[in-house]
């Protein structure tokens, strides 16, 4: 389809204008307002005790959520890609559920399950294990929203690869662990990496669900996103911008990794 020059330019500049007004200028404005008072102010703002505690808490949550998602996600992806079984469609649908659930609803669901008045209230009341308004709830909320990422990135790769190599290894006498470690894992490494990157970004960025289930005490149970919200509510706009910029850096890193991985994927396919 040959577009006339006028149409081509019209499309191009309207599209770019849209992106400019919706995406580029707003993000740029935050960066400008963050760094305009100087880089010293930025570091002072992200270096307050509350900010460091928030960073530590967020990283700790990531450190738990990522391994769990890999540990359970990769076998799940394997089972989905390699096997047929009854209820497979149900499992597929269940894995997609987190995409369709509002973050607030995630929080409500966890409170109604693990809260002292909840379905599993005996855990808190009887066993004395506090989940809601304590650390475990933040972890559970983060896992809920990140369950699909590793699975959905690894599964298509496994599906495309087929089992030829694994079967060959088996006939040569390789144990299941050797096969997994030396054949399967390396072949899914880009999909797995991207899934992990998405998981990290989403965990650091989760807000609604964590707001519901955390006690939001500065220095104790405030994640980076909760800190942004708190600073804004307290009128500390600059402080909110500073943490927002920190989180944006993570998002940009995700995009960079995305571009690199895509290039590798394309390169590997050649």
């Amino acid at each position: 389809m040959n577009q006339s020059k006028v149409i081509r330019y019209l499309f191009r500049y309207v599209a770019l204008l849209y992106l400019l007004l919706l995406l580029i200028i707003p993000v740029g404005l935050i960066l400008w307002r963050t760094f305009e008072p100087g880089i010293g102010a930025f570091f002072a703002s992200i270096g307050t005790p509350a900010a460091i505690s928030a960073l530590q808490l967020s990283l700790l949550v990531v450190a738990i959520v990522v391994p769990l998602n890999v540990l359970f996600g990769v076998p799940t992806a394997l089972v989905l890609a390699r096997n047929k079984f009854r209820g497979k469609n149900l499992l597929q649908a269940a894995i997609d559920l987190p995409f369709a659930v509002s973050p607030v609803v995630v929080g409500v669901a966890l409170i109604l399950l693990w809260g002292s008045a909840g379905l599993f209230g005996f855990v808190e009341n009887g066993l004395g294990v506090k989940i809601i308004f304590a650390f475990p709830a933040i972890v559970l909320a983060s896992i809920f929203v990140t369950v699909p990422f590793v699975i959905r990135e690894v599964e298509p790769v496994l599906h495309e690869l087929g089992t030829d190599q694994e079967e060959a290894a088996a006939t040569l006498g390789s144990s299941w662990w050797q096969t997994f470690w030396r054949i399967t894992l390396p072949s899914i490494r880009w999909g797995l990496t991207y899934g992990i990157v998405l998981t990290v970004a989403r965990t650091l960025g989760e807000f609604g669900a964590v707001l519901m289930v955390s006690s939001n005490l500065p220095g104790k149970s405030q994640t980076l996103t909760l800190l942004v919200s708190n600073r804004h509510a307290a009128g500390q706009e600059y402080g909110a911008y500073a943490i927002a910029t920190l989180l944006m850096t993570v998002a940009v890193l995700v995009l960079v990794v995305q571009v690199i991985l895509d290039a590798r994927r394309v390169g590997a396919a050649k």
């Binding site: 102010a41 002072a44 703002s45 270096g47 307050t48 005790p49 509350a50 900010a51 460091i52 505690s53 928030a54 960073l55 530590q56 990283l59 700790l60 450190a63 809260g115 002292s116 008045a117 808190e124 506090k130 809601i132 308004f133 304590a134 190599q165 030396r182 894992l185 390396p186 072949s187 490494r189 006690s215 939001n216 005490l217 500065p218 220095g219 104790k220 800190l227 708190n230 600073r231 509510a233 307290a234 500390q236 402080g239």
Partner: protein
């Protein structure tokens, strides 16, 4: 596909380095203070969790340094959390870690007593565990363009009033008790009081239901509404911040008394009690007054009389029979007379 072993192990090595860096970071100081430039107070042996209603931050910001300067307060850090009084009470009942609570009104603390979080005799002493208070005021835009002076002025057609929802906010209850007491002559003529509130609580006047005093202030400052009903301390503090508002103390208004209590399940009973007791000392009372809260110490109150004018008639909850009578009668979710009127606008 020949994957050299070195690539995989180099990935693992890189991951290991990253993990070590994270672990190192984890050792760095964190804390509850969010002031730029302050290093973490790792010498604080105890941190007290304060769960408070939505507006006393200006007061606590002065009180906490005052407390930590005293011998009893040495080595104690205070981590505050602010929110709607009713919602905060619910959170404490649900298990949020709290050592000391400062809520908007007595019934919210009694909820904690019922849930075995606060001792029955929390307000048995002479101070009634109320270290400060305020009065209900009408906040208007600077210059008072609509010339609001009395409760009757609020009934002008089309006047938009911002006041929070009594379902979660303590401020809301004080705000509605003030005109109620004024119009009903201290509860003597309940019908007249409810008549006024019936005219006030209509969609003509009330267009939003902010869940806390703080949220109501935010909405008003952001341009919603012509008039805000709030605590005098909220008005004073926002005026000091230069916001374009002023406040009017109606001739008859209500005395706000904000209680403090130590949480019985706290593991830092002594420190929490030390903080509570500090609040009643003359030094602390002076700090509350400087922050815009009416002190309860009579000599300090005399010193600050200029800042806190006395209205012609100041009704108190005692005039209405005390909270134990007034709260169920007026604010019970299903049967309270004022609560039922509020339902038309919620």
């Amino acid at each position: 596909m020949n994957i050299p072993k070195s690539t995989l192990s180099s990935h693992l090595r890189r991951a290991g380095v990253l993990a070590a860096a994270v672990a190192l970071l984890a050792g760095c100081g964190g804390g509850s203070s969010d002031v730029a430039g302050e290093s973490s107070k790792s010498n604080a042996a105890t941190t007290l969790n304060l769960v408070a209603y939505s507006v006393p931050k200006p007061g606590w910001d002065k009180i906490v340094p005052g407390f930590t300067a005293t011998p009893e307060g040495k080595d104690i850090a205070v981590a505050p959390s602010y929110g709607a009084s009713g919602a905060q009470a619910t959170k404490v009942i649900d298990g949020v870690d709290a050592d000391i609570v400062n809520l908007s009104l007595e019934p919210d603390i009694n909820k904690l007593v019922k849930a075995n979080k606060v001792n029955k005799d929390w307000n048995a002493d002479a101070t009634k565990s109320i270290p400060f208070g305020s009065v209900v005021v009408i906040v208007v835009k600077k210059g008072n363009p609509k010339n609001i002076k009395t409760w009757d002025d609020l009934l002008q057609p089309g006047l938009q009033i911002v006041t929070p929802s009594p379902l979660s906010s303590g401020s809301a209850k004080w705000n509605l008790l003030a005109p109620y007491a004024a119009k009903s002559n201290g509860g003597a003529d309940a019908a007249a009081g409810l008549d006024y509130l019936g005219k006030l609580l209509t969609r003509d006047h009330i267009k939003s239901n902010p869940s806390s005093g703080q949220e109501a202030t935010d909405q008003f400052l952001n341009g919603s509404g012509d008039v805000l009903l709030s605590y005098e301390n909220e008005a004073i503090n926002n005026e000091r911040l230069g916001k374009p508002i002023e406040h009017v103390i109606p001739a008859q208004t209500f005395k706000i008394e904000n209680p403090v209590a130590v949480v019985s399940t706290s593991t830092h009973q002594d420190q929490a009690n030390a903080l509570k007791n500090y609040l009643f000392t003359p030094d602390a009372q002076k700090l509350w007054a400087e922050a815009g809260f009416r002190p309860v110490d009579p000599s300090v109150a005399a010193d600050f009389a200029k800042d806190f004018p006395t209205p012609e008639k100041l009704w108190t909850i005692a005039d209405l029979g005390g909270w134990s009578v007034a709260d169920p009668a007026l604010f019970d979710k299903s049967n309270g007379s004022i609560a039922k009127l509020y339902q038309t606008v919620s």
